[in-house]
Every structure is written in structure tokens, then in C-alpha cells.
């Protein structure tokens, strides 16, 4: 099997999320490229949650409809997913929780008494998932030593007990489908949030400030867990307003700082965003999108904040908005955002979503670039220091307190070069133009990072147009249909020239977006580019490859 899917399901509280990681790591060690889609409702116990792990011999970043191995911790998992089983699918289930006559006929079904086993070994009930994973390994003919390796890595608490329970599952199951290793190269598995966090650290992050909000809380948790190691100041304050304004303070004092949130929290940050633009204070904002409006679907995914991110905050000011498409890009663009923010003293927004942020992907280091960190321009100590000195690029030399001989004033009002408040017309025009001038230079700087990428059949007349987490599914669909794919990674400043080049020879543009209004389609049309068809999905779930192919073929 070179391209298959495993679904593990149960109630919230059964450790299904973690199981997805464990399974992904096991399959990853066999050389498979893996991708995990996690589906969970907004609650702590109960409901139905599942992890869908896709394994392939090629890079993968989307799920498929069909399930080849169903691991059921409860009855719901059978009932809700049996319609998706492929012809040769195998079911492994907890016979203590599932009624055997609900198992579909004609499928290989292996039952394990998970409750009995955990009770016998006095293990907590949550370890049923480890037992089931052990069973999965036997089913696939995976060496138990590999199972042990991953269990040890993933469970630092109760390691011995987990190993024991996993082995009980292994013993209880039988081999059904031998899975051969596809390559010697085994890639590590990361979520988009983790990769993004590591990119920020790599680019010199000193402080991370956030209020917990799905789907970016994992960034806060991860950075808090490594704060001591990397000498980071990780702060969880009283509100998103505090988050953004604290960050401006850190930036003023010279610390590279990032914040993270989702749509609702970003709403609260917008006054602070405008302030960062006016006061020229670099702050990176990670905006992990989830469906709204308002509270919406907190644990699902969307692409509805693009136009908001581009225009948020009163007034007009220079900003960078980027949207990584997969886990390697999450690592790359977070470095770029932090570096560029400091180079131009602007706020930047990294648009991600729950699919990318909380999805797990095989991480190919060779595709994940490091950027050269540039030091921002600093004061040369000559003359009187002026925080907003007007320059040819619009970027003023930086100084941070305490700087002997410098009076460093930042200001939310319109101000003169020294940072003192002004209200007259000539001073306003001068400062506005200084700040706008930065956009031109920003656009040149960003151009060096490949803001628009082309994949698939680069000569095809028909192209898919995408941004963010739809990158992978579009590439996969394009490959099957011989199409081109154009992915826009930088949304502000909009890379019009590169975009035009990417569309060279294209006669039909089909945009693929997880929103109802076609936000990228609207954006490109502002620059004179036409989108012929829009494929929209707005139920909070990402496209499966099957679904996208169907949409494209329908359009045909």
C-alpha cells in the first residue's frame, strides 16, 4: 500500500489527538510521508473526535475520503465512518465498546477487548488508545521494536505502562496487511504551529505573548515549554488588548516579539495594530483562522480573515501579510516575517488556519529554508537622535532605551521626526509619505523570497489559484489533472509582477478557497487579474482530494 489512510476515533478525552501523532510517527519511521487531519468538537469530554492519518510515498498535505484502516475506540466511530471504508478496508475495534453486529460485512475485522486489557493491567482507561495502536502495528506487520521506539519518544509519563499495554494490543491482534518501508529516509513529523514556532525562534524571537485561543494556543504552549531553553519571555496576560500593547512595549525596548491569536482575538488587537503601524514598532501577529462570524466553529478551519488582515486597524499603514502553505513554509515565512518586521519597523501578520496549525505533516528539512538574519539599521550616534528620522527608504535608524545621549520617543499621534505630536498639514504629509515609502522597499525585499510559486504543469493553460493550507490539495489535484497551480504566499504588499509572470500562458483561473466570498479572487481582481471560477468551501472542513477533483471536474 503506497497511499492509504488510517482513522482512529473515539470520544474527546480518549487521547485521539495524541494517537494521531503516535501513528504518524510510526508510519513516518517506515519512510512514509504523513499528514494528519484532526477533527474535534469544542468540548473537553464526550462528543466524537478523530484523527485521520494519511500515508503516502510522496509528499502529502491533504486527506482522502476513503479509509483503509479504521481504529475504533467506541461505537460512534463505526457508525459515523463505516460509509467511508474502502473495499479492502480493515477494522480494528474495541470489542468491549462496539457491538460486533454493527461491523460492516465483508471487511477484515479484528477485535481487541481494550477495556478488559487495561483493567487487567491496572492502566487508566485512556491507555486503550495505546493498546489499539499496538494492535495496528501487528495488523500492518510492523516490527514491535519500532512501536517501542515511538512509544518511548511520545510518552515521557508512564512510559513502561504504555509499552506494556501497547504490547498487549500487539499480541492480541493478527497480521493482515504487511506494510513495507517505502524508504530509508524517515522524516520527523511537525504540526504547522510547531514549525512556525521554531521559525520564530530561529529568527531571534525573544518574547511571545498570547491569550489562549484555538487554533494558536499550541504555539503558546510549545514556546512556554521551551522558554527556559531558548531564554524566551512567554507571557499569557489578561486579554488580547494587553497582548498586543505589551508586545509594542517589548519592541520599543528592543526585544523581537510575536503574538498569536484567532479572528476574535485579532479583532481586539486591531487598535494596537494601527498603533504599531503609526509608531513604527515591529510586532509579528500569528492569525490562525477558524470559522466565524463571531464564535462560529472554534475547532474547525477557514480562510475568512484575508481581507480583514489586509485592512484591519484604522488608517493606512504599511504591513506585511504572509500565508504559509505547508509545514516547511510555516518554518520559513515565520522567519521572514520576524526579520522583515524589524528591517522595516512594521507590523506583520502570518495567516495560518486550524488545518495547517494543528495538522501534522512530515517535515522535509531540505525544503525548509533558513533565511539570513539581517540586523536592523541602528543609530550611528551622530547628532541628535530622532526616532522618526525621514530617510530615503522611509526606515529610521533604531535605538532602544537605555541609549546614552538618545531621547527615544514613540507616538500614537501624528508626530515629527523627534516623536513630538504634530497636527499641521505639511508635517502630516511628510510623515505619511515617509511611512508609505516603506511599502516600495518592502515589496523589493519580499520579492527575493518567492512570494508567488508555481507548481504542477507549468505550461498548462488552466490553473488552480490558492493560498494557505490549500496548497497541498491543489498540487495533488493538479498532478492528477495536468493543471498548473499558482500559490500566493505574500498577500501584502501584493506581488503583482510575480503574479503576472506566474499566469503567463494561462487562459483559465480557478480559485480554490475555504471561504464563501472568494477573498483571494477579490484581491487579485483589485490588481486587474481575472478569476474565471471560484471553488468555495465554507463548512469549516478542508477539501479532501476527492472533493476537490469532483469540484474541478464539475466545472469542466
Amino acid at each position: 500500500m503506497q497511499n492509504f489512510s488510517v482513522l482512529i476515533g473515539g470520544k474527546a478525552g480518549y487521547g485521539v489527538d495524541k494517537s494521531g501523532t503516535v501513528i504518524a510517527n510510526i508510519l513516518g519511521r517506515l519512510g512514509f510521508f504523513v499528514y494528519v487531519y484532526r477533527d474535534y468538537p469544542s468540548l473537553i469530554r464526550g462528543g466524537h473526535t478523530y484523527s485521520l492519518i494519511r500515508a503516502s510515498s510522496e509528499k502529502v498535505g491533504s486527506h482522502k475520503d476513503g479509509i483503509d484502516l479504521l481504529l475504533a475506540l467506541n461505537q460512534d466511530t463505526i457508525d459515523l465512518h463505516k460509509a467511508r471504508l474502502t473495499d479492502k478496508a480493515i477494522i480494528v475495534y474495541d470489542s468491549d465498546s462496539v457491538t460486533s453486529d454493527t461491523i460492516p460485512q465483508g471487511k477484515d475485522a479484528i477485535y481487541i477487548p481494550l477495556v478488559k486489557i487495561t483493567q487487567e493491567d491496572k492502566a487508566p482507561e485512556i491507555m486503550r488508545n495505546t493498546c489499539l495502536i499496538g494492535a495496528m502495528c501487528k495488523v500492518f506487520g510492523i516490527e514491535s521494536s519500532l512501536l517501542d521506539e515511538v512509544i518511548k519518544k511520545e510518552f515521557s509519563r508512564d512510559t513502561e505502562l504504555n509499552l506494556k499495554i501497547a504490547h498487549r494490543g500487539y499480541e492480541a491482534a493478527c497480521s493482515a496487511r504487511k506494510l513495507e518501508a517505502v524508504s530509508k529516509k524517515s522524516l520527523p513529523v511537525f504540526t504547522g504551529n510547531e514549525a512556525l514556532s521554531l521559525g520564530l525562534i530561529r529568527a531571534g524571537l525573544k518574547a511571545y505573548i498570547a491569550y489562549p485561543m484555538t487554533p494558536t494556543s499550541p504555539i503558546l504552549h510549545f514556546l512556554a515549554s521551551v522558554a527556559e531553553k531558548f531564554s524566551l519571555k512567554v507571557i499569557h496576560p489578561e486579554s488580547e488588548i494587553a497582548v498586543m500593547l505589551m508586545a509594542t512595549g517589548c519592541a520599543y525596548a528592543g526585544d523581537r516579539v510575536a503574538v498569536g491569536t484567532s479572528g476574535g482575538g485579532f479583532c481586539l488587537m486591531t487598535e494596537g495594530l494601527s498603533f504599531a503601524g503609526m509608531a513604527e514598532l515591529p510586532v509579528v501577529i500569528v492569525l490562525g483562522q477558524r470559522p466565524g462570524p463571531s464564535t462560529g466553529l472554534p475547532t474547525y478551519s477557514t480562510q475568512t480573515e484575508l481581507l480583514f488582515a489586509l485592512s484591519a486597524g484604522q488608517g493606512e499603514f504599511t504591513r506585511l501579510v504572509v500565508a504559509p502553505g505547508d509545514v516547511e513554509e510555516a518554518y520559513f515565512w515565520s522567519q521572514v516575517a520576524l526579520n522583515i518586521s524589524w528591517k522595516f519597523q512594521i507590523p506583520s501578520i502570518i495567516l495560518t488556519d486550524k488545518t495547517l496549525g494543528e495538522g501534522s505533516y512530515s517535515f522535509d528539512r531540505s525544503l525548509a529554508k533558513d533565511i539570513l538574519e539581517e540586523n536592523p539599521i541602528s543609530w550611528d550616534h551622530s547628532g541628535t537622535y530622532k526616532r522618526y528620522l525621514d530617510t530615503q527608504t522611509g526606515v529610521s535608524p533604531l535605538a532602544f532605551p537605555p541609549e546614552r545621549g538618545a531621547v527615544i520617543k514613540v507616538n500614537s499621534y501624528e508626530h515629527d521626526e523627534s516623536g513630538l505630536t504634530v497636527e499641521d498639514s505639511p508635517a502630516t504629509i511628510k510623515m505619511q509619505e515617509k511611512r508609505f515609502r516603506k511599502t516600495v522597499h518592502l515589496a523589493s525585499a519580499v520579492d527575493a523570497y518567492e512570494p508567488v510559486k508555481v507548481y504542477g504543469n507549468k505550461k498548462a493553460k488552466k490553473t488552480l489559484l490558492c493560498w494557505g493550507s490549500n496548497k497541498s490539495v491543489c498540487i495533488e489535484a493538479a498532478k492528477k489533472l495536468g493543471l498548473r497551480v499558482v500559490q500566493v504566499a505574500v498577500l501584502s504588499p501584493f506581488p503583482a509582477t510575480r503574479f503576472k509572470e506566474a499566469l503567463d500562458g494561462v487562459e483559465e483561473v480557478i480559485s480554490v478557497e475555504c471561504n464563501a466570498m472568494g477573498q483571494l479572487a477579490r484581491l487579485v481582481s483589485e490588481y486587474g487579474f481575472k478569476v474565471d471560477r471560484s471553488i468555495s468551501k465554507y463548512d469549516g472542513r478542508p477539501f479532501s482530494i476527492d472533493e476537490l477533483l469532483e469540484h474541478i471536474n464539475v466545472i469542466k
Binding site: R202, K229, A253, S412, G419
Partner: protein
Amino acid sequence: MQDLNTTAINTWCPGCGNFAIHNSIKFVLTSLVGEGMPIENVVLISGIGCHAKIVDYVNTNSFYSLHGRVVPPATGIKISRPDLTVIGHSGDGDAYGEGIEHLIFAAKRNIDITMIIHNNRVYGLTTGQCTPTSPLGFKGRSTPAGNKELPINPLELMLASGATFIARGTSRAMEPMKKIFKEAILHKGFSIVDVLQVCVTYDNLYEYYDKHVYEMTDHDPSDYDKALARMREWDYNKDARIPLGVFYRKEEPTFEQNFINAPVSPDVRQSMVDKFLSEGA
């Protein structure tokens, strides 16, 4: 030391209580510099309101923030550079209205910053509305029939929230106010000074305060209960004697101390990130 005056034209109304605060803070900074504090270590932060213009008028590092948002950047600055002397100027509308959540948390954290509240009990810059410390029945632009809410007692609120230095002064009496400012700035922990400052344009309370204020003389500021009792002598509403001075003072661990750790060099950082990237999170 550099001249603490800027070139900005002063636009406070003649008679404004802000002048006294302005003069006092310059006096205190000069005094502290004379005792060895480098002037470049000082950062003044202000919100939005008449009070906030102070940063345009004092020639030090400054951060002219948003309305109600003095505490968060002050906190960020102090956490990033704990060696700086961070002084926030906020109005009563700014600090006790828009920014009250942050003020409570500053006290709760005991972050080592000083908050000077220019409490004139009116929104001056927006032409005369009532604030959280205006008395019941205050007739302002937004409450022409009289304010229907009782004021809060900010001193009590700060005490309950964990502030470790709480004082009140009046812009009328500069000498005691200068003394309090200096003590507040030197105090290691969260200091708040409520300055009963008069707005001559919208609510001239000079006479009222002259009649009611008195300097506390036999008060022990280390006693929580006694401090609370003194604070409750005047509820910002009824006619009563208004005690001035330091109500409460205590030494407790400060928030920014939790973030002082040895920096990691870029090379070490690089190699640790590489290790993560090859092994997985």
C-alpha cells in the same frame, strides 16, 4: 544632564493641575539623576487625554500610547529591560475606565512600574464627560441629568488587587507630591499615586479640595487593615475629610524578576533549533 524641556508648545489650560504634576516629575527626575540614575534609563508612558501631553513636554524617552493602554506597554518594557525606570502617566478615565483591567493586573503582578494618575474626575480632552471617579449626580456632557453611578474608590481597588505602594496627593500641594513621587518611583514593586488634580475648565474643585484634604501624620503604611480604613475615609463621593500621603507600602517579589535569564547565543540557538528539526517536536 540634558534639559528636561522639549520644544513642544504647552497647550494645557492656564491653571491646569497638570502643570504641577509636570513640574514635580521633572524635579524628581532631576533629583534622581543627581543621585546616580542615568536619565536614559527613564521611560515615561502616557495614554490619551490632557494628562498624556506630558510626554511631549518632558525631554526623556517616552511612549505615547493609546487610551487606557499605559500599563501593557509599561509592562512589556519592564519585562524586556528590567533595568529601566518605567513611569506611567494616566488620567482617571484612562486608568479607571478604559484601562481598568490592565491596572488590576499590574497590581496583581506587582510589576515594578510607577503609575501616576492625573485624577481630575472628568474627561477633559473630550470636553467634559463624567469618569469612574466622578461623584453621583455629576452633570457632564454625557450625563446632563446627573451621573447615576457611584464612583469607585481606586485606592481600595488597588489594595485588593495586590498593589504594594498606594498613595494619594493633590496637585495643589507640590512639596508632599514630589516626595510621594520619588518614593513611588524608588519603591520596588507596583506603585500607584492617585493625584487629585484639578481641571479648571470642566470641574474646578480647588476650593472643595482645599476644604477637605489633610496630610496623614500618624499612619503606619505597613498595616493592611489600617490602610484600608484610611482609604475608606473618603469614597470619592460623599463629603468627608480626604487623607493624603502614603497609605500602603510593602515589599513583595516583582513580576519582571521571573524573566531574567541568561541569553542564548545565536549559534547555540541555531544548533538547538536544528536538533528539534531533525528529531521532531
